[in-house]
Symmetry: C2
Subunit: 276 residues, 2 copies
């Protein structure tokens, strides 16, 4: 285990300790003072009357990402799972290929900084997620599983119900959600999920991504980088996202709401018996 | 009037001719072959049954922006009003301060390029939108106007109804929508509206922005750059957007749906009589 070197007050140190305690347990965390919601005074108009109320709104904060002392990016994000956001960004942008390269990660809330110490000269090769996905293309998913995953995402979206301002991205298997990440930005939500997958070295070939938002090309690209062969979205896809899903072998489902959904690519991978 | 110099097939030339024919008429346009919708084959699951259908989905395309021959940005956007997107981006990023600096703009659809020739050495000063806005702070808006603008945005959102994948940003005055811009990306929609305001040199001090999406900090920043003192959103704001609206003197309304809305900043600028 490594100790964070900053030693300042207001620092939430995340000490990287690899693969010793299994998934979601291999990071020891000190108490996180994350802002779950902001209570905002508002004047609400309903049924012709004004009233003063306190409303829950989603926190959005500016965080600068430092890699080995150099500022490389600014996020406008919700202050949850910032370490995953950093992992996701660094992986997507090609700074790291594997979680082992990150030696230390420190979220300094008072200074709004995420500081990462990483070994960029790592000689490992990027895991070929497309290869992994290809192996999984024979995997089928049932209408029942698609509908139950969309319902499970909705059920777990407490933050959305309170604030109306959050997007959710989840990783699921066999109809169950394993991991979920949320953010005010839908791109950040997917990047956090990607970061969690990279950090935890999760085998995604038999997993499904469930996403609350619209699927534009950049969302599809990030979902493809996670490596899961199936993406179920509550909202609409764009034309370019459908093309990319076709190219990358991803089964893309949109408008998964209640008892219905649309399959845009590889419908042969959805089992035909509705009750299956 | 200037002629576009490219002379290629597939080029949609937009010839800039300033302030001669008034708002929305000062650009002569050749026929635009923009893609309104993409018809996508999908397998739809409803009431326990599969059916093959064609669904309208929103076009998303990659366009590179060239300024005086140099590639400076890539948009993932819907191919409508790309000239406004360019104006909005160039203004926000500080490349131009006034529309007069743009001498020529050419959207090459086959090559997916937007080419701009602009005079960057212009000695004009940025119009102080905050000053303009301050003068307008005494202006009141009635609950009736807020509700009718939200309804008008919804009514005009044909593309959203067909595809479920579009965001809309509109400029309004006295309960009427004057201009509306749409895009698969909510940031692009606001940037297109900003671009239209810059291009047309619209006095925005007495106008209102109406927006379909969530208001994060970056959306608020762009809305502030438009210069209108009021922003009505159908969806939620974030904590940082509320702070910025407070700083910039913008009356921020959220969750404007049906007969209700929430006022997050400057409620004294909403008239108290519900029927006013």
């Amino acid at each position: 285990m490594k100790k964070c070197r900053c030693g300042r007050s207001g620092c939430v140190c995340i000490l990287v300790m690899k693969r010793e305690y299994g998934m979601e347990k291999n990071l020891k965390r000190e108490k996180e003072h994350t802002t779950e919601y902001v209570l905002q005074k508002a004047v609400c108009f309903r049924a012709g009357e004004f009233s003063k109320e306190e409303k829950y709104i989603v926190p959005e904060e500016k965080y600068d990402l430092y890699l080995n002392g150099e500022m490389i990016h600014t996020f406008f994000c919700s202050p949850w799972y910032l370490e995953d956001l950093a992992y996701g960004f660094l992986y997507l942008e090609g700074y790291i290929l594997k979680s082992e390269q990150i030696k230390e990660i420190c979220v300094k809330q008072q200074e709004h900084r995420i500081e990462v110490v990483a070994d960029k000269e790592c000689d490992m090769h990027r895991q070929d997620v497309e290869e992994t996905r290809k192996k999984a293309e024979e995997r089928k998913i049932s209408p029942k599983e698609i509908m139950s995953l969309a319902a499970a995402l909705d059920e777990r979206s407490h933050r959305f119900r309170l604030t109306g301002g959050v997007h959710s991205a989840a990783l699921a298997k066999d109809g169950e959600i394993l991991l979920m990440r949320e953010d005010v930005g839908r791109h950040n939500a997917v990047e956090k999920l990607l970061g969690a997958c990279v950090r935890e070295q999760i085998d995604t070939a038999d997993k499904t991504i469930v996403f609350s938002g619209r699927v534009a090309a950049e969302i599809l690209e990030k979902a493809a980088a996670i490596g899961a062969p199936t993406l179920i979205a509550v909202s609409a896809p764009t034309s370019r996202a459908v093309e990319l899903a076709e190219e990358k072998g991803i089964l893309l489902v949109g408008f998964a709401r209640g008892e219905s959904f649309n399959v845009y690519t590889f419908p042969e991978r959805v089992t035909i018996r509705a009750t299956a």
